[in-house]
């Protein structure tokens, strides 16, 4: 009776089956809520020619930026990039293909991909470089462009708590792209801070139902802060 036990015990096992040239969808916004250990495992596996779908691409020595030095990423689909020098270098030299995608369109591409919807119309990007080569159509007198959804060979996700069924709860703004990413992978791998006993998560408060999750691993996280901004106490 282990059909619903998604727990794996090593990162090797968590990312087994990853091969060159695969597409990986990653959760996270900036460095917040990124599957940092799964990214490190991809680096360790030295797979290359990868297409990454992620809002950002980490920084030089953390997050998806770790996959840059060994040229593991062939193409990235993201809304905002270039927080790292090596990324900039590879993009400017043409070694790395970058497909800039508006943030809301990117989220919807993942959501639609996971929901079995191949494409959708949106007003975002009409009349801009994003619209080039895309089907345009009017609804109620307004122009929209057709955007295709995205699915991945793998989705890598960071959640806060899970049970062995793969039911997930995220914490604060570390949720971001993670729930959509979780739905859009052929194999969805989730790393969490805590795996609780079955029945401990309130079904009413589960953010991502376990049906989307294939593998689950518990770990610890550095949770690096990109812009530590504070006010003085009492201000």
């Amino acid at each position: 009776m282990s059909g619903f036990d998604k727990v794996v015990h090593s990162y090797e096992e968590a990312m087994s089956g990853l091969t060159d040239n695969m597409t990986i969808i990653a959760g996270g916004f900036g460095l917040c809520g990124i599957p940092e250990n799964l990214i490190s495992e991809i680096k360790r596996k030295r797979k290359s020619g990868l297409t990454l779908v992620s809002n950002n691409c980490g920084v030089d020595d953390f997050g998806l930026g770790l996959l840059l030095p060994d040229r593991q990423i062939k193409k990235i689909i993201a809304s905002y990039v270039g927080e790292n020098a090596e990324f900039e270098r590879q993009m400017m030299s043409g070694e790395l293909e970058v497909e800039l995608t508006p943030q809301g369109t990117l989220a919807e591409k993942m959501r639609a991909g996971g929901a079995g919807i191949p494409a959708f119309y949106t007003a975002t990007g009409v009349g801009t470089p994003v619209a080039e080569g895309k089907d345009e159509r009017q609804f109620n007198g307004r122009e929209y462009i057709l955007e295709e959804s995205i699915t991945g060979d793998f989705a890598i996700v960071k959640a806060w708590k899970a049970d062995r069924y793969g039911n997930l709860v995220f914490r604060k703004t570390a949720r971001n792209f993670n729930p959509m990413a979780a739905t859009a992978g052929k194999i969805t791998v989730v790393e969490v801070e805590e795996i609780v006993e079955p029945g401990q998560l309130d079904p009413d408060e589960i953010h991502t139902p376990g049906i989307y999750v294939n593998r689950l691993i518990q770990s610890s996280f550095e949770k690096r802060i990109e812009q530590r901004t504070i006010r003085a106490s009492g201000e």
Binding site: Q103, P129, R171, T229
Partner: protein
């Protein structure tokens, strides 16, 4: 005299209304939060998935799992809610945000905006800006009126790649508050001490001036 960054934010804040849901972009727009008029309540939307953004945290309350769209650590206000990125942009695209404030490189008389890309220079991406300008009805663009070299940023046609087409109706610069309608700029207010002539000189697109143009007032 040209408005300071704080004064631009202060003037934008006068447009806030009680009960508004507001998205503030990075830079000057972020400062608007410091000037919310007394006696009104607004809820700040951060597109990474937070409605009800609070002040920056203290050293003791910093939380790596709680950031804003500029990746800065923040706190949550009372009444805040958290959601995923698809939900966040459903709010934005669906027109549920009452006011959006964002920066730009250029705007033109047709309400086009260019704010994310200078060809030949490093391209970082549009983030959520394209969704915001496409989804919001009530947008205020904040920017300097002209470059340091005196080149107008209020144009007949944007020269840079667009972030959005025909979506901007209000622009607040360091010199003037301008409305865009019927393919023209309309001067509504001028910064204290800035003459209409000065604004005309630094506005490349057609600028309509009707009657006496009042100076902005700061309480």
């Amino acid at each position: 005299m040209a408005l300071s960054r704080d004064q631009i934010a202060q003037r934008v804040a006068q447009e806030l209304q009680d009960g508004y849901y507001v998205n503030l972009g990075i830079g000057i727009p972020t400062l608007v939060a410091n000037f919310v008029p007394k006696g009104i309540e607004v809820m700040l939307q951060s597109e990474n998935g937070l409605l009800g953004m609070g002040a920056f945290p203290t050293e003791e309350t910093v939380d790596a799992d709680l950031i804003n769209a500029g990746k800065q650590t923040v706190t949550m206000a009372t009444g805040a809610s958290i959601f995923d990125s698809a939900e966040s942009f459903a709010m934005i695209r669906g027109g549920h945000v009452d006011l959006t404030v964002l920066g730009a490189f250029e705007v033109d008389v047709n309400g086009n905006i260019a704010s994310y890309m200078i060809p030949g220079k490093l391209i970082k991406g549009m983030g959520g800006a394209m969704d915001l300008v496409a989804g919001a009805d009530n947008i205020i663009v904040t920017m300097t009126h002209a470059s340091k070299h005196g080149e107008s940023k209020l144009l007949t046609n944007c020269t840079l790649p667009l972030t959005g087409k025909g979506c901007i109706k209000k622009v607040l610069t360091d010199l003037a508050f301008i409305e865009i309608k019927s393919g023209k700029f309309h001067l509504l207010e001028r910064a204290p001490g800035v003459s209409v002539e000065e604004i005309i000189k630094l506005t490349q697109g057609e600028l309509v001036i009707e009657g006496e143009i009042p100076e902005m007032e700061f309480g």
